[in-house]
């Protein structure tokens, strides 16, 4: 019996049931994201603490305390293996800090310029430029750092001060990561700066302010928490950045604060460990889960703080 033959009330019920089914299906699509998060935590944490069969998991070899406080990273089997994450953490933080030193002034300056100074036509032209900059893949920035910034810019510049720069170095990696996250800071900060009410700017002008006074003493302070949220998000992005750092930053897991040398970050170690010829159940491979969960927890924490600040900021002006 086709639908057309059914009485009107029954047709409605069929279509209702049909709709219910679609709604459930769509809900499952949306719920998939929660499942993904759960899977990330379960898979990373689970594999870090438990391995099936006779094989021992990473945290069965190494205590959590040793992992978090150890200052040597030498992921090999047997007695000589050392599994302290601090060298990788120091490399990661160094890259992220250098990236912030580049991207925070550049991104904030661009945001202020686009929201307070640029004419609409100029803004229409600048926004796509920043979008393109943000859309260039990470490997391309890695190549740019390794083959251009290091040999053609940093080496000659530093040699003027008698400083020697390694072929692989944290400085160039940090600089390109900074370039990569600048558009993120610029566009997020511009959004929050624009949301500062126009009346506040007018009031400041009416009190005899120059544009600098308006921007630096009224608008930016009013948008400060939102801008801070943008910085945090960019910092977390820099921590998780992989290919540019792998290509340009080097692979030496040494606890150092010298940006002129190469260093290994959490992400570049993970790439190194999966491209090496170590066996799938080697300790080096197993350590990926422990480092992965560390990376996940760090970036998630920063993102959550950033989101919380941003929500509170929005409440002020809405």
């Amino acid at each position: 019996m086709t639908q057309a033959n059914l009485p009107a009330w029954a047709r409605l019920r069929v279509s209702r049931r049909h709709e219910k089914f679609i709604q459930v299906l769509l809900f499952l699509c949306a719920a998939l994201s929660v499942l993904t998060t759960a899977a990330i935590i379960l898979v990373l944490l689970g594999n870090a603490v438990y391995a099936p069969g006779a094989k021992k998991a990473f945290f069965e070899h190494v205590s959590v305390w040793e992992f978090l406080t150890g200052t040597h990273w030498k992921p090999v089997e047997g007695e000589s293996g050392r599994f302290g994450i601090l060298p990788l953490l120091s490399g990661t933080v160094m890259v992220a800090v250098i990236a912030s030193l580049v991207s925070v002034p550049a991104g904030l300056g661009a945001a202020i310029y686009m929201s307070e100074y640029a004419a609409p036509a100029e803004r229409e032209f600048l926004k796509p430029v920043l979008e393109v900059l943000a859309g260039i893949p990470s490997v391309v920035y890695g190549f740019f750092a390794l083959k251009f910034i290091t040999p053609w810019i940093l080496k000659p510049a530093l040699s003027l001060f008698g400083l020697d720069l390694g072929t692989f170095n944290v400085l160039s990696a940090g600089i390109v990561v900074g370039i990569m996250v600048t558009p993120l800071i610029a566009s997020l900060s511009e959004d929050v700066i624009r949301s500062v009410p126009r009346s506040l700017r007018e009031a400041a002008y009416a009190l005899g302010s120059t544009r600098f006074d308006v921007s630096a003493r009224v608008v930016v302070p009013a948008a400060l928490s939102g801008i801070l949220a943008a910085f945090l998000l960019a910092f977390s992005r820099a921590i998780g950045e992989t290919m540019a750092v792998v290509i340009a930053g080097g692979q030496q897991p040494i606890a150092t604060l010298n940006p002129l040398r190469g260093a290994q970050t959490m992400t570049s170690f993970m790439v190194h460990a999966s491209t090496g010829d170590s066996a799938a159940d080697s300790i080096s491979r197993m350590s990926i889960y422990a480092i992965g969960i560390t990376l996940f927890v760090i970036t998630l924490t920063i993102n959550l703080i950033s989101g919380w600040i941003l929500r509170r900021y929005r409440e002020v002006y809405q």
């Binding site: 299906l25 949306a30 898979v43 310029y113 391309v140 491209t275």
Partner: protein, 377 residues
């Protein structure tokens, strides 16, 4: 039009008109000025007050610094492009896109990577579009504000910030292992395996653990939060009058969504989907974590030309379960070669990758352009 003070040029600032106005540069403390309010002579002429001159100078310097920050982004973009094109001249030629990889830098080409990226993107789009648009429709059109929905929204915002390499670990552990299990189940041979259930022997093609589908599923997880966000934005921009009008005509909620809202949002959705999918083309880290090949001269399913897509159906069937490499992976591999002749190869790879990205983005721009002309709210 009179421009604000800070924009005015130096000459105007320096210009002091004296006619009839006694320019009194008041330097006494502010309180004193307050008391002598009644009989003070003032001049509004630029440069009359030394302090204000200094502030205007500061304002102009600040503007120049901000402008510099903005335009240096553009300068970097130009330098980057010029540097890459310049480095590529030693290798970039037609045979670079028709050759597969080689240990000889003068012969190495990117064909395997192009085909790998093609298959990856095809399946990534196939997986991520229905799920992504479906999630967005649920969140924007159906969901009521409940704890679960808020959890999903917060979770999506945070997933977008998860480093892509973490998805690589997830893909390695879940999808790759599933593929391995599937391989075991079917004796490692898929066409044989599937047909084998019906005791029909077609051909014997192997299942690989690190296959295209595993890569595409992983990339889907990477871009899904972006696809959902872009689709949500497109749905939000559909005016609610359309929904109300459709519901008022007796359409059900789903009919309204399917026949009115989604078609109206389609240009926005497609632009967003194209742009986020193009992000997947540049992703190397999660694929490397999966164990994708860094050096191979084989295209997935041995399909190395578009005509074979039509003439070799069994190979087409095989391609999704074949091993692969991708453009960004090959670029990474060439970049780290000690032989400096590979620099030109890597640069040529980047040129090809950027051209592909540019073409895809242009498609998105064209869609946006035509859609915005057709539909104006």
């Amino acid at each position: 039009m009179i421009r604000p003070a800070s924009d005015r040029n130096k000459a105007e600032i320096a210009q002091v008109k004296s006619a009839g106005t006694a320019s009194a540069a008041i330097t006494s403390p502010i309180v004193e000025r307050q008391n002598t309010n009644a009989n003070r002579a003032v001049s509004f002429i630029s440069g009359a007050d030394r302090h204000i001159r200094r502030r205007l100078m500061l304002s102009r310097i600040f503007a120049a610094v901000c402008r510099f920050a903005t335009y240096s982004a553009m300068a970097i973009l130009i330098v980057l492009l010029v540097a890459i094109v310049w480095s590529s001249v030693d290798r970039l030629a037609l045979d670079f896109v028709t050759n597969t990889n080689s240990t000889n830098p003068t012969r190495a080409g990117i064909l395997a990577g192009v085909w790998g990226s093609f298959w990856l993107i095809l399946f990534t789009a196939l997986f991520s579009v229905p799920v992504g648009v479906g999630s967005a429709v649920y969140l924007e059109e159906i969901a009521k504000d409940s704890f679960l929905v808020r959890l999903i929204k917060v979770n999506l915002a945070n997933l977008a910030g998860v480093p892509s390499i973490v998805y690589g670990i997830l893909g390695y552990t879940v999808f790759r292992s599933s593929a391995a299990a599937l391989g075991l189940l079917f004796d490692g041979h898929h066409v044989v395996g599937m047909a084998g259930l019906f005791r029909i022997r077609l051909s014997k093609l192997p299942i690989y653990e690190d296959n295209i589908l595993v890569g595409a599923l992983t990339l889907t997880l990477v871009i899904l939060p972006t696809v959902i966000a872009a689709s949500q934005e497109a749905l939000r921009s559909v005016p609610s009058s359309i929904r109300v009008a459709s519901l008022a005509l007796g359409a059900t909620r789903w009919q309204t969504i399917w026949r009115q809202v989604i078609p109206a949002a389609l240009p926005g959705i497609s632009t967003g989907v194209i742009l986020s999918t193009s992000r997947a083309i540049g992703e190397a880290a999660p694929l490397i974590m999966l164990g994708a090949l860094t050096y191979t001269s084989m295209c997935p399913g041995s399909i190395d030309s578009p005509t074979k897509l039509l003439t070799r159906p069994s190979q087409v069937l095989h391609a999704p379960l074949d091993q692969f490499t991708a453009m960004p992976i090959e670029i990474y591999d060439w970049s780290k070669q000690p032989d400096s002749r590979f620099t030109a190869v890597a640069a040529s790879g980047i040129v090809v990758l950027l051209i592909v990205l540019l073409s895809i983005n242009s498609v998105a721009m064209i869609v946006r352009h035509y859609a915005s002309r057709r539909l104006k709210w």
